[in-house]
């Protein structure tokens, strides 16, 4: 099981360690630092490392490494999932997951880690249960605590741990009963230089914010549930109902949670909202290059494309860029070689264009590699797969809740090759 946890910042300092069994010297991290050195970029550190006596499994989140040490055969996915859960919990408790916020709340962090794992076994990882035992910090509470001598540790037994629905705490009460669902779809696509789609898929997620009193039992049905054949659910969803009727039936956790994620991979269902016309050339003579990019709408289902942004990682030899954008503005960072063109809203009447010259380092052979264009975009009020929630019903409680569903489509890993 998980033996120890080290939190390491991007400078390579260990700023927190926690041992669930015996203490392991932090020198074990030296193996990790070695790998970190070799990988150059922090993203490229291999997640599973073998050392003579231990295994190091790490994740990289918010410029921090969460490094766990294990000694026996443990499913690595279990460890990685758990580490992400730790990071999620910090995010949930403190609003962000950074070194400063963790050191500011060290005691709570330590208490949390103690509650989440016992002897390496996960104990309480549901945010609801944790919050019942260890209250998240907020200004009001700390004032009250100082005045009354109260503490942020709950006095009660976390009831949820014992029921069949461990994700929901008992006795929830709200003045306004509301349930909101955000359907977010991200398009992952690779488009080649001729504009043909090499691969395209949709990663969808339904995030929920449910603030309902008592024990509501919800049923969500879709207009077109046939779209969903590859899904993963929050444990609260009754899988049998889904199998037989294609409806989501569940008693929701209290507050924010991810109801389901889904994956649509069949290419004909994935619409590519924009097209890109580009030419990037480097010339041997005169050590310069030309760049010309135009973006236009393709399959937007009549909606407006917003927050359009193009990011290009230029080859090392490109020293500077001298370009003109018909819309939005561009920046070129000569140290990271990142060209960012922030376009904003896409106007179908007047297509945005970026063109101009690139100055290159002299005496260096022409770059072999062609830079890829990374596209960011957002389309409000549209799930690009066409998924639509048809209705949401509540059983088990008397009151009438306020319900809402929001759709948004974003570009995930959307890249255009040149």
């Amino acid at each position: 099981m998980i033996h120890s946890l080290f939190l390491i910042n991007h400078l390579g300092d260990i700023f927190l360690e926690k041992h669930w069994k015996s203490v392991i010297s932090r020198s074990v991290c030296d193996y990790f630092f070695e790998a970190r050195e070799k990988a150059v970029d922090p993203e490229n550190v291999p997640p599973v490392l073998q050392t003579p006596h231990h295994y190091l499994i790490s994740i990289y989140r918010g410029k921090l490494f969460f490094l766990s040490v294990i000694q026996t055969e443990v499913p690595p996915l279990f460890v990685i999932e758990f580490l992400h859960r730790v990071a999620d919990t910090f995010q949930d408790y403190f609003g962000e997951c950074s070194e400063s916020v963790i050191t500011d709340n060290l005691v709570i962090v330590y208490e949390l880690l103690e509650e989440m794992l016992d002897n390496g076994f996960p104990l309480a990882t549901e945010s609801n249960v944790l919050k019942e035992m260890i209250r998240p910090p907020n200004i009001l509470r700390s004032v009250v605590n100082t005045l009354t001598g109260g503490s942020n540790v709950g006095e009660t037994l976390p009831q949820g741990q014992l029921s069949n629905i461990p994700w929901r705490r008992a006795g929830v009460k709200y003045a306004n009963n509301e349930a909101y669902f955000d359907v977010t779809e991200e398009i992952d696509a690779i488009v080649d230089k001729s504009g043909t789609t090499v691969s395209a898929e949709i990663q969808g997620v339904i995030e929920a914010c449910v603030k309902l009193s008592g024990m509501p039992d919800l049923t969500m049905s879709f207009m077109n549930p046939r779209l969903l054949d590859d899904v993963s659910f929050h444990p609260c969803v009754r899988f049998r109902r889904w199998e037989s009727e294609r409806v989501l039936s569940f008693i929701p956790p209290d507050g924010n949670f991810t109801l389901m994620t889904y994956h649509i991979s069949s290419q004909n269902l994935v619409a590519i909202p924009v097209y890109v016309k580009q030419s990037i050339n480097f010339f041997e003579a005169g050590s310069c290059g030309r760049l010309d990019i135009t973006i236009g709408p393709k399959q937007t289902m009549g909606k407006t494309v917003e927050d359009l942004k193009v990011t290009i990682h230029m080859p090392k030899a490109v020293l500077n860029a001298n370009l003109t954008a018909t819309q939005g503005n561009y920046t070129y960072d000569c140290t990271t070689k990142m060209l960012v063109w922030d376009i904003g809203k896409l106007n179908p009447q007047k297509l945005p264009n970026l063109r101009g010259s690139l100055s290159m380092q002299t005496g260096v052979p022409n770059p072999e590699e062609n830079p890829s264009l990374n596209i960011d975009l957002k389309i409000q009020q549209l799930a690009i797969s066409g998924l639509k929630v048809s209705r949401l019903d509540m059983y088990g409680e008397k009151y009438k809740p306020f319900k809402g569903v929001k759709y948004v489509t974003k570009a995930g890993k959307f890249q255009v090759r040149t």
Partner: protein, 948 residues
């Protein structure tokens, strides 16, 4: 109000100050002080000196303070064991607390205090907590047993905690079940033989029920535990699969992967024609694909596992190629894994797409990735034959980029392509040679040298190229040195006249100036070979190399089976069996996949589970047996003809006698004409090539197996020694001798072509006239290198029986035309009809009887075989090697009657009755066949087989 304030005291007397605050009367101040202590502890400061003061704060009603003190205790009890005893009383008291949260907290903390002295005090409270009315306490206590076991295993066993823990598997609360399973699995890991997890259908049922209701982490433990179970039959296996499949839609990827493990394992038991089997296969793909949209770390582990799954069951993901396409911002470790899987999934259907992607990757920035992409192109060429041409042209394009590391990788893979498709793409050699100077990596240099040596006869300046490498011989890596040595020897054997000096130079460099024993040994071996028998040297050095297989990096099947049982574990990430690397694996169990029961030979559940649990590696031993069996079968198929031993020429003996002496130097020295030893060195090979000269090593092997033949192993098909078919005087110097053989079900014509003319012979081709059984060459005559004067070459020509048919006289006559650059020559030969006996010529007894009666007596022919001293069993063994199968044996009055059948390639059955009288060297064979005219030739075969 943040906790960073706890770090503000950096004055000298920090510990002192804290001590004062801990002993303060004010509750609030005390708590603040404990918080400060904890904060210091978390960042690794040593605050153990405060132990007694902190423990004093333990007696409190304040839950938070209590928790904080517990935290401190867990960290420092080990360093202050005597002090820790002070805390025992509080623990015992807290275990009786009315609040289950306190009880659970106490039992939890207790287990974390790793001090021997304390543990014995804790047994009683723990026993109580294991039977607590509150499931929260029970589940915490279950984990505590595992903790205690880690500290003092004997104590746990003596106190009977293990049995209590086993009872908890039947607890009503799923969370308790999950924790009990987790604790037991952890304990079992250090006790591989204890049979703690006594899995039977009842417990399995309980686990499956708990599976639906416990937390995601509990599900992982339960699924991992289920995976160790071996179902009794396919029905049970299916019902478990049905109950596990919903887990595939879980949001936690570890749950998904553990479920995949269970399904992959139990699927082995399902009959393939079952509808459910197909449904299950379809259900496995989406969750695996979904794992790839998670965080990169998860993706990595998932990809490593998918790599295994794809090798075991490629059908699951064969349509999902696109999800493995690499995005340029994937971390490098994900990119490399995706690439690996892309190649595994590459097939004729998707190869165009894959190649386009690979070409794209080859222009990326990351050097490691580009290298692997180039390699991948080569692997595609080897895997999908239809794409080879395109792959080669892609590689050539890449070489044109002149990017140093791309060129080197390309050359390395082109070498492999040459080995897979010899004599097909040699036109690219010129391009490769252009890039000779840019190669600086040993592997690329070695590959290039291999290519030059292998195709020396097609590269005009091969000697110059190799010579250029020789200049810095001692600075090269061993790999390159060895390759260079071999390449130059090859060159010498191909162009002996111009490369004397070169070969001498390299031999002396390797044998005299090198410290590397491998290099020296190889040098001496070549030297000895060249000096004693250049023909043999040629046979060895220029031997036809086996084609490389499609996938050289496939995981060995038994290991793969074991790894499939370990999906989701570290073993699956490292692709090594757990026993190979898990620290302190005190006898890790070797797991294996359950066999399918559809054959009806299902093992009884007892034996299988025993095998799965036992310490011995059951997966390995039977497979070794199989392997051995295979090997024997494999090697037995070639005939055991041991032709006349190669005649030792006088020159050979001379060379052998004074091997390393001056004679050798003079032999290799400049005066080719003079020395008598030259005759052995470069002169004519022995005129009549011995028939089975080809492999001295395998000859020895054959002898070995000859011995083995007595142990009831069928012997190889008999084939006659070679006879001269076409004498040299009739064919302008070309002499052909040959024989026929049937090996592994393929009819082969084995020929020795000898050039006895004065000029080089090239462009060989062969054709057959129409014949009785439609024999025809299955491929062209493989004479690749020109045949030099006085040289001879062994050729094996596979034959098939789909050629045009015409009845010949005699029946087994074959008219052959051989062409070379000089002329076309004709000869005819007769093949033994036993070559045409197929492997499935064993008739059913009943059919035999009926057929025997059915064939008119007119068609019966009787022959006698004289002077045969074999027993009837030995004879039948011998005959079986030639596909004459004994169906039944009867003994009447001391006379053995053997009933035999054989089938010809054209479907004609021949039935035989052979009578063997003990002590009488005359056998009587009666043959019955619908086509009576073959009987005579069958009889001849009988005679030939039995007498050899």
């Amino acid at each position: 109000m943040t906790d960073s304030k706890y770090f503000t005291t950096t004055k000298k007397g920090e510990i002192f100050e804290l001590k004062a605050e801990l002993n303060s009367d004010k509750k609030e101040k005390k708590k603040e002080a404990v918080k400060k202590v904890i904060a210091s502890m978390t960042v690794g400061k040593d605050v153990s000196a405060l132990f007694p003061d902190v423990v004093n704060c333990m007696q409190t009603d304040n839950l938070e303070l209590k928790k904080l003190v517990y935290l401190y205790l867990m960290n420092y009890a080990k360093s202050q064991p005597d002090m820790a005893i002070m805390a025992v009383n509080t623990f015992v008291k807290d275990c009786e607390d009315p609040n289950p949260l306190i009880r659970a907290l106490a039992v939890r903390t207790m287990g974390c205090i790793r001090v021997d002295k304390i543990t014995e005090y804790l047994c009683e409270p723990l026993r109580k907590c294991l039977k607590d009315e509150d499931p929260y306490v029970r589940k915490t206590a279950a984990v505590c047993v595992a903790k205690l076991h880690d500290i003092n295993a004997q104590l746990v066993e003596d106190q009977g905690f293990l049995d209590t823990l086993k009872d908890l598997i039947s607890d009503s609360n799923p969370m308790v079940v999950a924790n009990a399973v987790a604790a037991l699995s952890e304990i079992a890991e250090s006790h591989p033989n204890s049979n703690l997890m006594d899995l039977n259908p009842q417990t399995i049922n309980k686990l499956l029920t708990a599976l639906n209701e416990c937390t995601e982490w509990g599900q992982i433990f339960i699924l991992d535990c289920l995976a160790n179970y071996t179902p009794r039959d396919d029905r049970e296996s299916q019902s478990i699969c049905e109950r596990v499949t919903p887990r595939l839609s879980h949001a936690n990827s570890a749950v998904v992967l553990s479920a995949v493990k269970v399904l992959m394992k139990f699927m082995e038991m399902l009959p393939k024609d079952l509808d459910y089997y197909g449904t299950l296969l379809k259900k496995l793909a989406p969750p695996l694909v979904t794992l790839l949209s998670a965080e990169p770390e998860l993706q990595y582990v998932a990809l490593r596992n998918i790599n295994l799954i794809v090798q075991r069951r490629p059908e699951i993901l064969k349509h999902e190629m696109k999800v493995f396409f690499v995005k340029y911002n994937d971390p490098i470790y994900v990119k490399l894994e995706k690439l690996d899987i892309m190649i595994r999934l590459a097939s004729q259907a998707n190869i165009a797409q894959v190649l386009a992607e690979l070409k794209e990757y080859a222009t990326e920035v990351d050097v490691d990735f580009v290298r692997k992409a180039v390699r991948a192109i080569g692997r595609c060429a080897i895997k999908v034959e239809q794409s080879a041409e395109r792959c080669v042209s892609t590689l050539l394009d890449l070489i044109q980029t002149k990017v140093n590391y791309v060129v080197q990788e390309a050359i390395v893979v082109i070498k492999d392509i040459f080995r897979k498709y010899p004599n097909k793409y040699e036109s690219v050699i010129a391009t490769l040679c252009e890039n000779l100077d840019s190669l600086d990596e040993p592997e690329a240099r070695a590959a290039m040298i291999w290519i030059v040596g292998e195709y020396a006869e097609r590269i005009d300046n091969a000697d110059e190229l190799l010579e250029s490498f020789l200049e810095g011989f001692h600075d090269e890596s061993t790999q390159v040195q060895l390759q260079l040595l071999t390449a130059i020897v090859k060159l010498f054997l191909k162009k002996p006249t111009e490369t004397q000096e070169l070969v001498q130079q390299v031999l002396s460099l390797a044998t005299q100036d090198s410290d590397n024993p491998d290099l020296r040994d190889r040098g001496y071996i070549y030297w000895r070979l060249l000096s004693t028998d250049p023909v043999a040297a040629k046979e060895v050095v220029l031997a036809e190399k086996p084609l490389i297989s499609e996938e050289t990096d496939l995981i060995e099947p038994t290991l793969l089976e074991e790894l499939i049982c370990h999906i989701g574990t570290l073993a699956s990430v490292y692709h090594k069996p757990p026993s190979a690397f898990v620290e302190g694996s005190r006898g890790v169990q070797h797991k294996r996949l359950p066999g399918s029961t559809e054959s009806g030979e299902s093992e009884s559940p007892d034996t299988t589970s025993a095998a799965a649990v036992s310490d011995a590696p059951p997966a390995v031993i039977p497979s070794q047996g199989d392997l051995l069996g295979d090997l024997l079968n494999l090697d037995l198929t070639p005939p055991t003809t041991t032709g006349p031993p190669p005649p030792a020429s006088s020159g050979m003996q001379m060379g052998a006698m004074d091997l390393l002496g001056g004679g050798l130097d003079s032999l290799l020295g400049g005066d080719l004409g003079g020395s008598p030893a030259i005759g052995a060195g470069f002169g004519a090979p022995p005129a009549a090539m011995p028939a089975s000269f080809s492999a001295p090593v395998s000859g020895g092997l054959d002898d070995l197996f000859d011995l083995g033949g007595g142990v009831g192993m069928p012997m190889g098909a008999y084939s006659a020694p070679k006879t001269v078919w076409l004498p040299a005087m009739k064919a302008k110097g070309l002499e052909i001798s040959g024989t026929f053989a049937r090996r592994s079900g393929v009819i082969q014509m084995e020929m020795t072509l000898t050039n006895k003319a004065m000029s080089v012979m090239t462009d060989f081709a062969i054709q057959f006239n129409r014949n009785s059984f439609g024999l025809a060459p299955a491929g062209p005559l493989q004479v690749l290198t020109p045949l030099n004067p006085n040289q001879s070459i062994e050729v094996t020509l596979p034959l098939n029986t789909v050629g045009p048919v015409m009845k010949m006289e005699p029946l087994n006559n074959l008219q052959v035309a051989v062409k070379n650059n000089i002329d076309v020559f004709y000869f005819s030969c007769q093949y033994p009809i036993s070559m045409l006996f197929v492997e499935d010529g064993k008739m059913e007894r009943q059919v035999f009887l009926a057929t025997w009666k059915d064939i008119p007596n007119d068609n019966e022919a009787q022959f006698q075989i004289k002077d045969c001293h074999l027993s009837s069993d030995a004879a039948s063994n011998k005959l079986q090697g030639s596909n004459i199968f004994t169906i039944a044996k009867r003994t009447v009055d001391g006379q053995d009657m053997l009933y035999q059948s054989m089938k010809l390639t054209n479907g004609i059955w021949v039935l035989a009755e052979m009578r063997v009288q003990a002590g009488n060297p005359v056998y009587t064979v009666s043959l019955k066949c619908r086509a009576a005219e073959v009987s005579q030739w069958v009889f001849q075969s009988y005679e030939a087989v039995l007498k050899n």
